[in-house]
């Protein structure tokens, strides 16, 4: 391929897009709606997932440390705790004094002065540990217990199991919904492309009769398909960005109490947007480009 033929292909794809603007517009709209649905469900499941994760982070395991340990020993224990697999986060060391204060603070009507009265603090120092996979809680607790200098480990395995199974289910359902939507979109988009090409069957036949090779006919269609896919992806991305930002901004202003609590978990678009962008762009290029190439094949027999 020469430079001028590449320039021709790129121009011809665009010309054809404009010349068949009604069909192009229909294709763009159909694909855009598909992208919107997929994008919305991706955002939805990502947020549910994020929400559940943050709930899980609140499920902490208390690791009690031998009160005899010096600072060096405490630092060593902290390191060892952190190096255990699935341990996501190890909090700062909570001294027996701080432990007691927070315990008293948690008791209703508790008074800080009360702690001064207790000369013999019965509480050991502790680390608060959170883990990434709640279904592993039992095993991790066993491992934590085996770290030298640890005297006791406490955590609620029942709660952990429940949270873990909820999250698994939600992840699975999110995946299922996105997959179903992707398949439906693929079928709809494929049919739109098929229709577009059927619409131009005669044109393709004429091209063949004046001596165009299949590649020469096919490539502008593929490029046109890619243009359509990218435009649809771009529009859908812009719309989702706008709607999501609006939702985030609105949630900050208008909500309170429980609702605010939920909305405060909204993942910022900057954090997740690029994933959606990559997903859309790849979808736009592959579905439209390869779809066009595939459906034009059957009209290239004459």
């Amino acid at each position: 391929m020469t430079g001028s033929s590449i320039r021709y292909l790129i121009k011809e794809g665009g010309r054809s897009l404009v010349a068949n603007r009604m069909m192009s517009l229909a294709s763009i709209m159909v694909q855009m709606v598909c992208f919107l649905l997929i994008g919305a469900s991706l955002l939805f499941s990502a947020n549910i997932d994020g929400f559940l994760k943050s709930v899980e982070r609140r499920n902490q395991i208390a690791v009690y440390v031998d009160p005899e340990l010096d600072d060096q020993g405490i630092a060593r224990v902290r390191n060892q705790l952190g190096s255990i697999e699935t341990v996501e986060y190890v909090g700062d060391y909570v001294t027996p004094q701080e432990g007691l204060e927070s315990l008293v603070r948690d008791m209703e009507g508790g008074n800080i002065i009360f702690t001064d009265l207790i000369s013999d603090n019965p509480l050991p120092g502790l680390f608060r540990v959170s883990i990434s996979d709640l279904s592993q809680q039992k095993q991790v607790m066993d491992k934590l217990k085996r770290v030298q200098g640890v005297i006791n480990v406490r955590g609620s395995t029942d709660l952990a199991d429940t949270l873990a199974s909820i999250r698994n289910m939600v992840t699975f359902m999110g995946l299922a919904v996105v997959t179903i939507l992707a398949i439906v979109s693929l079928v709809i988009t494929a049919n739109t492309i098929k229709l577009t090409i059927l619409n131009r069957k005669r044109e393709i036949g004429i091209m063949r009769l004046v001596g165009a090779t299949n590649g020469f006919i096919r490539l502008p269609f593929v490029i046109e398909g890619i243009y359509i896919g990218l435009i649809a992806a771009g529009l859908a991305f812009g719309l989702i960005w706008w709607a999501y930002s609006y939702l985030t901004a609105m949630s900050a202003e208008w909500t309170n109490g429980f609702v605010k609590d939920i909305f405060s978990y909204l993942i910022p678009f900057e954090e997740i947007g690029w994933k959606i962008f990559v997903c859309f762009a790849a979808g736009g290029i592959f579905v439209s480009g390869i779809g066009s190439s595939f459906f034009i094949g059957r009209h290239l027999k004459v």
């Binding site: 020469t2 021709y8 010349a19 044109e203 009769l209 004046v210």
Partner: protein, 256 residues
Amino acid sequence: MIKFVNVNKVYPNGTSGLENVNLSIEDGEFVFVVGDSGSGKSTLVKLILTEERHTSGRIYVNDYDLSRIKNRHIPALRRTMGVVFQDFRLIPTMNVYDNVAFALRVTNIPSREIKKRVPYILNLVGLEAKSKAMPTQISGGEQQRVALARALANNPMLLLADEPTGNIDPNLTFEIMELLIEINHAAKTTVLVVTHEQDMVSHFNKRIITINKGRIVSDAPAQKKRRTGLIHSADPAPVSALAEPNAIRRRTVYDW
């Protein structure tokens, strides 16, 4: 050069298109093929173009053996000929200029040369003023001239015209025929014109092949006498210019 040896064409539904056809057309000849509607004239053109494939026998066109030609060589075969159809077959979404340029683009000619060649050819058929018009915005006669320009664009060895005057103003019939004859004279292009207007062709002193019910029933060579004064091109000069050395010669085929 076109050669048919015992050619039969049976369409998939069982209809017979051509039966035991034998004919030979030399390079540079001008031939009329006449016959009633449904006699098999278009079938003949389609077989030459490999738009339809023959059922049995052998066909040779411009050094290609159509019984053996591979699919990937068909574009190259088609570039050795230009075709004008009764229904024009212009690409509806391309303007006049692009329709003509398309026949050149498929051969991968540099765009520099296309930019010179297309206006030149459009000028020959008298349509340079309409180069930006879409096919739907011009008359049938003009569309047919665009189709002719496209057929001539890469200076083909063979020009096929299937009822080129069937869909245009009858007054223009002689004008178009005259143009085709001039192309044959000037560029030494082999020209095969298919028509059902048997009276019309008798005005020209050309070889006439008559088909009836898929069989060749007569093949009358041109008389040796000069052309009658009946047909007179108003200005044959521009068409003669087709033979000018500048015109793009056939080149090695570039397959993608």
